[in-house]
Amino acid sequence: QEEAQAIDQELFTEYKFSVDQLMELAGLSCATAIAKAYPASSFTTSQPTVLVVCGPGNNGGDGLVCARHLKMFGYEPTVYYPKRPNKPLFEGLTTQCQKMDIPFLPEFPAEAALIDELYGLVVDAIFGFSFKGAVREPFGSILGTLERITVPIASIDIPSGWDVEKGKADGLQPDMLISLTAPKKAAMHFTGRYHFLGGRFVPATLQEKYALNLPPYPETDCVLQLT
């Protein structure tokens, strides 16, 4: 977890990347990975509907960007974003989604069965690699419901609720994990079908410095399928 935070710090302070830049590239990677693993034509729902659950921090921001790109790729995303930070970055991302006619749910579907009926996929953009400690409401109940759905879950960076290094055996079991920048230790406990790498912005020097040993991305793709 500390290494991931250190890399991020270097990207912002030494390389002068803005959070906007990296969040946009990260969210785009997530949407691209989802499009590769779950093509719109493969959905059993009548429309390729996707529920994107966004948490209170940067992982939620990644989710907003992802939702926007999913819309452009022909999916029908719906966002649930209960705790919105008071910062221009997140307000901007929210506006971009709203102006693209992406609905924002006023409340979370009460029953797992309802989610299964309405959506073909759920994107978990609740907590990321900075997550520590206890899960606060409303996310505790949300995760409880998500643990009971049968439609696939794609988690951004870390399955929400998992310990960033040790995982969580009785927690969320996503079908897909999109690791951003580099896989975190928790990824070793991932047992879903699809593991993608996204966030193709780490300069070679940084990769060497932190001995990331990332396999090469194909051509100009912004994602790499690991499994």
Binding site: E14, Y15, K16, F17, S18, A31, T32, A35, K36, M72, F73, Q96, K99, M100, D101, R200, F201, P203, A204, T205, E219, T220
Partner: protein, 191 residues
Amino acid sequence: AFPLPSLPRKQPTVLVVCGPAQNGAIGLVCARHLRIFDYEPTIFYPKRSPDPLYRDFTTQCEKMDIPFLSSLPTEVQLINDAYNAVVDAVLGAEGEAGEGREPCAAILATLKHVRIPIVSLDVPSGWDVEAGSSGGISPDVLVSLSAPKQCARRFLGRQHFVAGRFLPYDVQKKFELNPPEYPGTECVVAL
């Protein structure tokens, strides 16, 4: 347009010429991604914008070990020999204002004579954004940003791409852009 294995030179070198305004800044971002894609870009950015966002783009490129030339060779043969292609990010749709002024005028005079392919970002630098050009540079590839500009009708090069997949549907409709379908998850489409 220029996949790595197709490049004629031993090293995948690309010269990215960046002007003083937004078109140049886009060139900086392009250079950074080219580096990530394993090309070897070199940047010529004589007149740097004071805009903090663009200054950060410059830092990102420098920290990624992308060299910045201190001067552009006036001997065109030197450019032809050292690079596989040139990215023209000198002037965009605001071109008319910048064209006559240095250093753009001298740069464009040199670029007119290079023999290696030129990729122009949005508008071939020096062209009038609507009428096109008489005697200006002749790019091999044009990448129209958001949507093709009027002068794109005069483009005679090999490939014309549109990069505008980020435009929301209602903006497209409002300006009657009628963009083509983008393949898969691609952010550019060849016209």
